[in-house]
Symmetry: C2
Subunit: 143 residues, 2 copies
DNA sequence: GTCTCAGTGATACCAGGTATCATTAGGCCA
DNA sequence: TGGCCTAATGATACCTGGTATCACTGAGAC
């Protein structure tokens, strides 16, 4: 089964209709290795309406098929998501995004919760840097 | 010396002029305990032009007098900043914001950098929860 | 006093996103 | 198969948050 088929099945199993527009958006999304904006998808599928692409992207986010990535400049991008809650490591040079498997801040949240007496319900975390291919060799870590 | 005077001095010492519009924006900002939007300031100072308020807020951010806070819904707010790099713990119920003194993710960044071979240059982190006053008593932590 | 230029504010504009609504079409049922 | 219901579509207007432009103003240096 192709990835497209599996997403289509996911949509159907949750009671959403599978239409040509949705297939087109999913196809465009699957053809992109890194992160992308709604406009990228719109350019690739000029036939689809703006509102439809926005709606479909939001739906795919809600279903956990896509996830949002906020870049260092604050701009909102999307990318295919394999898991539930996770964090991103974004290469500011080539734009590649790496998922981090575990929720790396769980321990931190527990400790903070104890210290501050806050009931911590959520967090937002992104890391920015340069991947192995893009980092200047021999240079140390800066953060 | 009042807080307003100290900010005014900060502006002057960095070669920026101190104008009535800037005094008004700083005054409006100082009168707000939590986080606020540009629109909040605009409502409080209807005499000041939109562009001027945006410019002044950006200037205050650049100078480290204000800092940006992204809330859970993705909306951009501002708040007074006492320090350089730090993170926020935002109460989703009453809107109060608590700074975290140290860069709590330093260890995490070092470990991630080692694991992933990324040269990590920056990160974005916010926590959301309920402060002691707002958390339902007796209820456990949900994250 | 005057001169310079940073700052102002009105305005137009832009980008990204949502709301509305008539129309289309997927898919269920008789 | 046809009819029907309603989710989805797409054109469009609109909203929100922010920037660019530009003529004008006034702070402050001399």
């Amino acid at each position: 089964m192709t990835e497209l088929d599996s997403i289509v099945q996911n949509l159907e199993s949750r009671g959403h209709r599978v239409t040509p527009a949705r297939r087109a958006v999913v196809g465009a999304v699957l053809g992109r290795p890194g992160h992308f904006t709604v406009d990228d998808v719109l350019r690739e599928e000029p036939g689809a309406g703006r509102a439809t692409v926005f709606r479909t992207m939001r739906l795919l986010c809600d279903l956990g098929i896509l996830c949002r990535v906020i870049l260092e400049d604050g701009s909102l991008h999307y990318r295919l998501s394999q898991r539930g809650h996770h964090h991103h490591l974004v290469c500011v040079s080539c734009g590649s995004v790496r998922d981090m498997d575990d929720c790396v801040v769980d321990d931190l949240v527990r400790e903070l919760s104890r210290q501050t007496e806050y009931d911590i319900e959520g967090h937002w975390l992104e890391f920015y840097g340069r991947c192995r291919r893009c980092r200047p060799s021999g240079e140390g870590q800066r953060q």
